[in-house]
């Protein structure tokens, strides 16, 4: 069994109103040295296989097909044996 841990964030060119709202709140709290906040998604996918290359293949395919919209988002992932 493998676990795929996927982090998805909006591209730098896409305005993130959630991140901007959090940033304003942090500034209101006096944390003026915080310059930016980007809010993203974290997804875990478990794959039943003993072959790491199959899990890796799934990870890439899942991200590119459904989990990520590459018009607006970027992603990175790790594959770990459970």
């Amino acid at each position: 069994m493998f676990i795929i841990k996927i982090n998805i964030t909006l591209k730098d060119s896409v305005l993130d109103p959630q991140g901007q709202t959090v940033l304003r709140t942090l500034h209101d709290q006096g944390k003026e040295n915080i310059t930016d906040v980007r809010v993203g998604k974290y997804i875990e996918v478990k794959v039943k296989t003993e072959d790491q290359s199959i899990a890796e293949k799934h990870a890439k395919e899942l991200c590119e097909s459904i989990l990520v919209n590459q018009v607006i988002e970027t992603f990175r992932y790790s594959v770990e044996k459970l």
């Binding site: 060119s13 896409v14 305005l15 109103p17 959630q18 709202t21 459904i66 989990l67 919209n69 018009v71 607006i72």
Partner: protein, 217 residues
């Protein structure tokens, strides 16, 4: 006119648009469940408003893989007409049938109100609309149109913008409320023209939009 209206789990404007097309345009309307395929010879496919698959992950992300959509892609390849309203527009961008994406409204609020739309005079569908302004309701949380600058420039240069907001409610780039492909056969818009055609709902400008779209059929 033969019409297939696709019903996804969570669609909630399918009956509205189907009823309007039946009653106002004498269309033969068939509601197609997402697990079924559309018939071979339909003139128009409608992807209705709502919250397909609960809007989980991203609006329209799951719907694009449904069995019904496989047949809609074949319909598109044949040059068939497709109209996506609200969630339907989101499904069209998610599936790549239209460029760009719909982001969370800039305010992060769900917005439900009447807005003023400006037909784009360089667009093949809306250039013949005589009215300078159309009052149409919007109801969405994720309606801010986004495309990378190169794509946006191409959309503008090709005259693919169908309508703009007179007063931008959601942060859409270039005030875009609706676009079409270069042929004018695949149309996506966030506003709901099907909610502005019955005298009981006060505004009637939806008819102008449907007339302009169907003139290109």
């Amino acid at each position: 006119m033969k019409v297939s209206v696709i019903t996804f789990p969570g669609s909630n404007c399918d009956k509205d648009i189907g009823t309007i097309l039946e009653k106002e345009y004498s269309a033969q309307v068939q509601f197609v469940w997402h697990k079924e395929q559309i018939p071979d010879k339909v003139d128009l496919v409608v992807l209705p408003g709502g919250f397909s698959f609960g809007d989980y992950l991203r609006c329209g992300a799951m719907a694009k893989y449904s069995e019904a959509m496989k047949s809609v892609y074949e319909h598109a390849k044949r040059g068939g007409m497709i109209l996506g309203i609200c969630n339907g527009f989101q499904i069209l961008t998610e599936s790549g049938l239209l460029p760009g994406a719909l982001l969370h409204n800039r305010s992060l609020k769900y917005i439900c109100k009447d807005v003023t739309l400006l037909p784009n005079l360089t667009n093949k569908l809306s250039k013949n609309i005589a009215q300078k302004e159309l009052i149409i309701p919007i109801a969405h949380g994720e309606g801010a149109f986004f495309a990378e600058s190169e794509t946006l420039e191409r959309i503008e240069n090709e005259g693919q913008v169908v309508f703009r907001y007179a007063s931008n409610p959601n942060g859409s780039l270039n005030d875009i409320a609706g676009i079409c492909d270069t042929t004018g056969k695949i149309i996506g818009m966030m506003p709901h023209p099907e909610r502005a055609i019955n005298p009981y709902t006060s505004h009637l400008d939806g008819r102008v939009i449907f007339d302009a779209i169907f003139a290109n059929m």
